[in-house]
């Protein structure tokens, strides 16, 4: 009958367990095995098929609140591209901090590739307001939307950008997105210009995107921390030399995040299970009385 006391448990105990379940795996990674899914594999395989002559457009369409989900995706994809010497054009369309995120991630990753030259191997064009209008215009001419790069150099002075006029010169668009901007890339750019679009989405918006994936409008999809961790797994399997980057203590990545997710999910599910066992014991004793607290399913 001891379990019944669980029903009256102080919610703060649950809070404490969730806090520890999140913190400990970040500091001391457990390393749960990560299995991969098709939408992630298709994303990875597409980049795998590209080489030094191809250009990827990476759009930072997220802000600081969803960085734990989107940033590891950005890091893994940039590493993948730079390792394969694929050229990358970085832009930001998310108004609330997209350009800050892009700058941070680019600074972090380019430090690992000292041979890369800005303007030749990659370009950072900065932020543009009004996502949809900007996307349409880039179909005609990038320079009309971004006359200069983030540091103020005219695009004509960047060797990479003399090769890239519009979407025709882009092999793949990658949108790292927290909200509706990814849908614009699909509905507007993919539909009109046929450039393949792959999306790194937050867990909350991912389910909606399965329809685009089915319809072939989206080439690949990473959903939340889980999707990011799958990409990291594929990357490390393909490029073992990158492993040290993902073993550094005190550096967050999606596999560590996934450890935290797994533990927190397990804690919550365990509590739900025990709660129901206790509930049944109580109900059997009370003779079908049951408790009426909580309003689930009363509408």
């Amino acid at each position: 009958m001891g379990l019944e006391r669980l029903l009256q448990i102080d919610r703060r105990i649950l809070y404490l367990l969730i806090a520890l379940g999140t913190l400990i795996p970040i500091l001391l990674p457990i390393g749960f095995p990560v299995s991969t899914t098709r939408p992630t594999e298709r994303f990875f395989e597409k980049i795998e098929s590209l080489g030094p002559d191809d250009v990827v457009l990476a759009s930072f369409d997220y802000g600081p609140t969803t960085a734990p989900e989107n940033a590891p995706m950005a890091e893994a994809i940039l590493r993948h591209c730079f390792t394969r010497r694929i050229k990358v054009v970085v832009i930001a369309l998310f108004p609330l901090g997209g350009v800050t995120m892009a700058g941070q991630e680019l600074d972090l990753i380019r430090a690992e590739y000292p041979a890369l030259r800005e303007g030749e191997d990659y370009a950072f064009l900065g932020y543009k307001d009004g996502a949809q209008a900007a996307m349409k215009q880039m179909g005609v001419d990038f320079a009309a939307v971004f006359p200069a790069d983030h540091a103020g150099r005219p695009l004509g002075e960047l060797p990479l950008m003399t090769r890239v006029r519009n979407y025709d010169d882009i092999a793949l668009i990658v949108s790292l997105s927290t909200n509706v901007i990814a849908e614009y890339w699909v509905n507007l750019v993919n539909a009109q210009f046929r450039t393949p679009v792959a999306v790194g989405a937050t867990a909350v918006s991912a389910p909606k995107y399965y329809a685009y994936l089915d319809a072939g409008q989206m080439l690949g999809l990473l959903g939340g921390v889980k999707g990011a961790s799958e990409y990291e797994r594929l990357l490390l399997d393909g490029y073992p030399e990158l492993r040290p980057m993902y073993r550094k203590p005190g550096v967050y990545n999606a596999m560590k995040g996934m450890d935290a997710q797994t533990i927190d999910h397990a804690i919550i599910m365990l509590f739900i299970l025990l709660g129901n066992v206790a509930f049944f014991q109580m109900r059997r004793r009370a003779g079908r009385g049951g408790d009426a607290s909580g309003g689930a399913a009363r509408t």
Partner: protein, 262 residues
Amino acid sequence: MNAAPWFEPTRVGAPLVLLLVFSALVLFFIHLSRRGREIFIRRIAGIAAIEEAIGRATELGRKVLYLPGSASVDDNQTIASLAVMRHVASLSASYGADLSVLNKDPLTFAAARETVQEAYLQAGRPDLFTPDRVTYVTYDQFAFTAAVAGIMVRERPAANFFIGAYQAESLLLAETGQSVGAMQIAGTAEVTQLPFFAVVCDYTLMGEELYAAGAYLSKEPAMLGSIKGQDFTKAGLILCILVGVTLEIFGVHWLKQAMTIR
């Protein structure tokens, strides 16, 4: 077609037909009902519970908290909420309950002040209306949530109304309210937030129920007539789905194409 350049081609097909049929049905039933035809609308549990919640708060001598959601009056959910708020204010005035309306949006705040003040006036208790019944907190979603959560734990309201447009703050508010033992009635048409209200609150007005609530509470013939017109449109859409699915089975696609907006 001669008239073609006058009309937006992507908008005049199915959407215009729907608009006309819908408006005609609503107007027709408003007309019928004004002429004295009885209109039956089934009982909606969440609406019936409003009076109970206010009565309970009055007995306990604790506050009634009403939050009209995070949107401005440009969202119809807010307009629907103001209609419910009017009823809650009127009941609070006649019961002598201590109502407090907290706002995130400034225009909603302006409208709420009119609504509540007039409701107190018409309930014959202008003496109970003080300006601090309706207050403005802040424009930020989470700053607003923090402030309201603080108020909840300090003042321990006995009834919480979360009616209107809600975003991620829904669960923060409802959980805090639950922890202080308030009876909670929520109402929103935000599909993403309905699960949290439905799980935590005692009653939840879902989607269409929120919009119907004000009309239902007013019991005015014209209001009820409009609900009837909307119901008939819904029946028409159910029929449209059945017919459309049948046509699809036989490989006839015109209805689906007419309803696919390019």
